[in-house]
Assembly symmetry: C2
């Protein structure tokens, strides 16, 4: 199937191929040999999918685009304060080769002009220039996801003609921005500019930045999110020479260009974009490159200051505990207590990346709801990420609720390791649960406890209490007694196994707890209900439905009554009224469960 | 309940109140009278909720912060090209009062330095200076959400001492950036700087920008999203004088400061932030203001280039049509055909703000799924917004699918007017549906049509075909015949009404269609199933359950058989085996529906 973005890029490439404004760079003799018609566009998504058109695999030299990645490397190696002490982050409004040193300190105003970049190259880790080069080479290769090599001819040409850069290097030495002999480090700078990349390589380097510093294909973390954030800030204000302000205004993405004809643009969380076309404008930016980025930004609405996502988005919906009671058999006394309290539970289903504004929105919503509810369950199932700052806000919401007798819980955290780590650190005081069923049951136990109904108080049933037998007279119960057997099970015993065909027994729980478990497609089981005294299971055997769809397992010492469907049929062949009553009770129970399930479906789909 | 952000701001305010670095502005005599201890912080969320601490309601003059809002006004009045022709958007790296004109054209380099701002003030709509002032006053008042007034003492002071600004205004006239007498327009500039605002006003002005140009409380659209985008770009590179680069690096939000001691910062989609503290640093920015913003940005992770949201987030989940067949009675022939095809339908549940990267992700996922499916239903229920560019990508995905015999549908658009407008414009060729039930039914009809089974072909049932009667011998059926009545209904006739207690009839459809409808809490009905020949409804009357929970309405001419539960009970008092068989069939059907519902619950909750 042809993908829309591929089609779009091919069309864009064809349209802009006719642009022949600008000229290849000539200040280095070797660059003047570039083929001016080369034109490649590549976009890499943060999941590593690459769209490429035109000359996307033609090698050329990275030039000033290297400055961005070496800056990230220096930040990682030396830390922000050390780097900021030597090189500023203010846009100069000057051309790429302007010397722009701070008049007081001699510090270059930013790392994207040559002076700042040369100083930055001298700051990466390594005891001498060869070791520093090894570090630069390894770092830029990791950004690209493959080992890059130097175009030796361009390097020689850069080194042979880099008089102005030599002057800059000595000026930096003069102001003590660098120390020792500045020349070997300057050669590293010439080498880094002469690294050969393709448009595809650059798009992957940009996508690594878009992906928060992790290469989208190799999975390697090349920079920390903080380094990426700092680098993108500098690219936004200083990345396009003295066109930076217009670029942010028109295109709205952090970007960096090089005189080799390359441009990268980064849309955090979304795309890395690279264009290769060697014809440059007077400022030194690729003419087609700028036009490609302008059109992509406009056509796709990619401006970083475009309309943002609303904070309210993190709250998918709110529903009452009454919509989703724990699927657990209860005595009538317990039911009565729960029914009055369950309506004071609210589920808040969160979604997406929860940042501080979203957490604030949720907190304010909870504050509004305290008039009608006091237990709040945050459902994290659809949360993709939770920022530390947002977790801290939620912890404070929990504290404030607790102070007024309420309660905040967090649920559906099964298998969410990254999320659990954030919550364990910042929300230690908030009860957390694998799933809603367990969270709900915990709430119900709390409610019963408060009402003086500890579950143990009400945990024995007798044969006449089962709804399956309701409406049967004493004589009928006596007859039924003849086919009932007592059964005891230990914790972990499986009474019904999903898939088995030959077990036609119906069970009635007298004491203890059991759970109903469904096998999952992907293996393992999901617990779907808990059963206690008074509950019946396995009753569909009475309908002659042979296969069991779920398993039932004892969770505590369990005392049951049970009978075989075949015995029941034999008995009721002579007493059809018993069968009619039991079937009627069974169908009524199924109809009630179906109605509950449909209510849950409406709550889930609502 | 105490809200965490309020608590945080109070704590921050208390901590930073001890900072006494800096001095109040003195270059205008009136400003030197400011109380240096005043300190207010206000944050307004995009839903209009305001957090305020300290001196949030103390009036002071807006000063240079006005430049941002007047620039948005000029963009709205004159359009980008006209404004850009007179004032650039490049950071100057120079101080706020530097003259910084382009050496060739004389155009000020950006609208945030005085020269650019004075030129911008002269560009707002109005035939003369008084009319231009009316426009500026109305526009800034709309951003604040209340009518602002001028501090006449400060205005006089500005006007009396604004020698440098007079020089700038004449230089602009000299370069033909302005025309006519520049002095009346310069007075407007002095007046706009002297508008009185509180910290709360500024936070609402910033929140209006964060909210895409719509005031979060008044709901008035004050600027278009494009104007906001342009303004925020300029604020990001030029908003903080020659501290702009460091500000973006450290704080990462578009911002603007004024020598009155105010600072605003804008986090698109999230917050407008304002701080008021008149002690300024050497660059002219509020010392505490910068510190507040730094700490808020760091503590809340608000940097605009911080880790972005993943594109894959827009795809909540994918599930098969087999998990959610249309709830519609079908003949066995139809069922057989559908069962082989329904597995080739996929639901893709989208969520959140869908931009081009999300639409691209969905398109690629569909391309991957074409091996196993050919009908794709995009569920828009949880989509908060769809960008035009994303809609165009989805339209192309639909075209590409159609070209290879597949089909793309869009569903759950009931009541989604804004979404429908985007889709109607960009996705006209893609079938769109109010809900999944209707979309699914449409798909099933397509599948049946392809198989040569038009619904009309198979639309008659007879009494022996109903599963409720399965297993009954001829003699029993004959006895049942005695209580069956024929019934015809016209489209729109209601056969069962939700809530009624006295209707105990069970219906069996011979020909035609009916729908099951559930009343909604918020009024109205939701259609939950469609029933056709062979389907039974109202059968729970057999269980002695009196109240009807759903309504059933004829959608076409409808031919039914029906019987009263009371008659059935009278009949089967003599023939218990008939009752046992029918109850068994009924319970079996309920168990099967319950199992389907539980499968759907797992699909929905999965």
């Amino acid at each position: 199937m042809e993908l829309p973005l591929q089609h779009y890029l091919e069309d864009l490439h064809a349209r802009l191929s006719t642009m022949t404004d600008g000229a290849v760079a000539s200040y280095i003799p070797e660059l003047a040999l570039a083929n001016p018609d080369h034109f490649g566009i590549c976009i890499v998504a943060t999941d590593g999918y690459a769209y490429a058109v035109g000359d996307s695999d033609v090698p050329f030299t990275i030039q000033s685009i290297s400055k961005a990645f070496v800056y990230a490397t220096a930040l990682a190696d030396r830390g922000r304060p050390a780097v900021l002490a030597k090189v500023g982050v203010e846009p100069s409004g000057d051309a790429f080769n302007s010397i722009s040193l701070d008049p007081k300190t001699g510090a270059p105003v930013n790392p994207m002009i040559n002076a700042g970049a040369i100083a930055t190259t001298g700051m990466v880790a390594g005891e001498d220039a060869p070791n520093q080069w090894a570090r630069i080479h390894a770092s830029l290769s990791a950004f690209a996801g493959r080992s890059l090599s130097v175009d030796e001819a361009v390097y020689q040409s850069e080194s042979d003609t880099g008089f102005r850069n030599r002057a800059i290097a000595w000026l930096l030495r003069n102001f003590d921005i660098s120390d020792g002999d500045p020349m070997p480090s300057l050669e590293n700078y010439f080498r880094q500019c002469s690294l050969e990349v393709s448009c595809r390589d650059l798009a992957f380097m940009a996508a690594t930045l878009a992906n928060g510093g992790v290469h989208p294909s190799t999975g390697e973390r090349v920079a920390s999110p903080e380094e990426v954030e700092a680098l993108l800030s500098v690219m936004a204000t200083c990345g396009m020479y003295d066109y930076a302000g217009s670029w942010l205004f028109e295109v709205g993405m952090p970007a960096k260009s090089g005189v080799g004809g390359g441009i990268i643009a980064v849309l955090p969380g979304r795309f890395g974009i690279a264009v290769f076309s060697p014809r440059l404008d007077g400022i030194g930016n690729s003419v087609r490159g700028i036009e490609v980025c302008k059109q992509i930004s406009r056509d796709f609405g990619l401006h970083v200051f475009g309309p943002g996502q609303s904070s309210s988005m993190v709250l998918n919906r709110v529903y009452s505990g009454a919509d989703v009671p724990a699927r657990r058999g209860r005595s009538s006394t317990q039911r009565a207590v729960l029914e009055t309290h369950i309506g004071r539970i609210r589920y808040l289903e969160l979604q997406g990346d929860v940042a501080v504004d979203g957490a604030d929105f949720v907190g304010r919503r909870i504050a509004d709801l305290t008039a009608e509810a006091d237990i709040f369950i945050l459902d994290f199932h659809r949360v993709t990420a939770l920022k530390n700052s947002a977790a801290r806000v939620l912890a404070k919401v929990g504290d404030a609720l607790r102070a007024q007798g309420g309660l905040l819980l967090m649920s559906r955290l099964r298998g969410r390791k990254a999320l659990e780590a954030v919550l364990a650190e910042h929300c230690a005081s908030i009860p957390r649960f694998d799933d809603n069923e367990i969270a709900m049951e915990w709430c119900e136990e709390k409610v019963l406890e408060k009402a003086g109904l500890s579950p143990a108080n009400a945990a024995t049933a007798d044969a006449t209490a089962f709804s399956l037998f309701s409406g049967l007279d004493a004589g009928s119960l006596l007859k039924l007694g003849g086919i009932l057997q007592e059964l005891k099970a230990a914790p972990g015993d499986v009474l019904i196994r999903a898939g088995e065909q030959s077990n036609d027994r119906v069970f009635l729980i007298l004491r203890g707890d059991a759970t109903v478990r469904l096998p999952l497609f992907e293996g393992g089981e999901q617990r779907v209900a808990k059963l206690s005294a008074g509950a019946v299971f396995g009753e569909t055997a009475l309908l002659g439905i042979p296969a069991r769809t779920a398993s039932v397992r004892a969770e505590t010492e369990l005392a049951c009554l049970c009978f075989a469907a075949a015995d029941f049929d034999r008995l009721t062949a002579d007493y059809p009224q018993i069968k009619i009553t039991v079937l009627n009770n069974l169908a009524t129970e199924l109809a009630s469960k179906l109605s509950q399930s449909n209510q849950l479906i409406r709550a889930l789909a609502g």
